[in-house]
């Protein structure tokens, strides 16, 4: 089967994120992916989009959050999240590359946040981040079962 793609946009408001999440869930179901994988794809997308709204745009409404979904149903699904706000600091992006321990906050410290990038790393089969004149682009790839 050939590659399809679709682009989705919301305004930078947390209340709108569920529309992106559910749209991508619908696409995953249409591609007949296993339920667990659909949930994982939705979670990695929502974490990335929440970060864009909260950090790239500092919770300011009126900015576009852009998601591109590319899928080759026999093979892999790519989700690319783009924004034109502050880029992810390199130090945050590299966190975790030293090993799993640095990826997520210690449970016993009862953290109330700080899981987003670590979860994205764990849920995506590969991750690539690129900043250019069109903005910041987080490429997440999921191998399909």
């Amino acid at each position: 089967m050939s590659t399809y793609n679709i682009r989705l946009f919301i305004d930078s408001q947390l209340a709108h994120v569920r529309l992106l999440g559910s749209a991508v869930r619908g696409i995953g179901q249409e591609l007949d992916l296993p339920t667990e994988q659909v949930g994982q794809i939705e979670l990695m997308l929502v974490e990335a989009v929440n970060n864009v709204i909260e950090h790239a745009y500092d919770n300011e409404t009126g900015h576009d959050v852009h998601v591109r979904v590319e899928c080759n149903p026999d093979d892999q699904l790519k989700v690319i999240i783009s924004d034109r706000g502050h880029p992810i600091p390199a130090a945050q992006l590299q966190r975790g590359s030293a090993g799993d321990d640095a990826l997520l906050p210690e449970p016993e410290s009862l953290p109330e946040g700080g899981w987003g990038l670590g979860l994205i790393r764990m849920l995506a089969d590969s991750l690539h981040y690129e900043c250019n004149q069109d903005g910041n682009h987080l490429h997440l790839c999921k191998q399909l079962a």
Binding site: E36, E42, L43, V46, E47, N50, L119
Partner: protein, 113 residues
């Protein structure tokens, strides 16, 4: 946010009736629980069996609820399944929370605690 509250002696079962807990509605959940605690609730079962999706910012709200009720013996998360259960597992927060398969086993767990 749709919630149902049932009281069993000194235990409160708070069931989330929304299919989704995320950054948009987690603050409201946190607020509603803090009001319940203000009104006297001490031991809480948070029944998430109807929740089909949960993100890490709502996990943060649940940690904050844990801190509000005091100790981990006083909060049980019941009915986490699918990606919700996976979120607790991936973040290893299932080590910190008491987790029960459903509200009934959470009640048993708390009765013997």
């Amino acid at each position: 946010m749709k919630l149902s509250v049932h009281t069993h002696e000194e235990l409160t079962v708070l069931k989330v009736l929304e299919p989704r807990l995320d950054a948009a509605n987690a603050p409201e959940l946190r607020l509603r629980v803090s009001e319940m605690i203000g009104a006297g609730t001490q031991r809480l079962i948070l029944d998430v069996s109807a929740v089909e999706f949960m993100d890490s910012s709502s996990l943060g709200a649940v940690v904050s609820i844990l801190k509000m009720v005091g100790g981990s013996g006083d909060l049980v998360i019941a009915g986490a399944h699918g990606i919700v259960a996976e979120l607790f597992k991936l973040t290893r927060m299932d080590r910190v929370f008491q987790m029960a398969a459903d509200a009934d086993s959470a009640l048993d767990m708390m009765a013997t605690a």
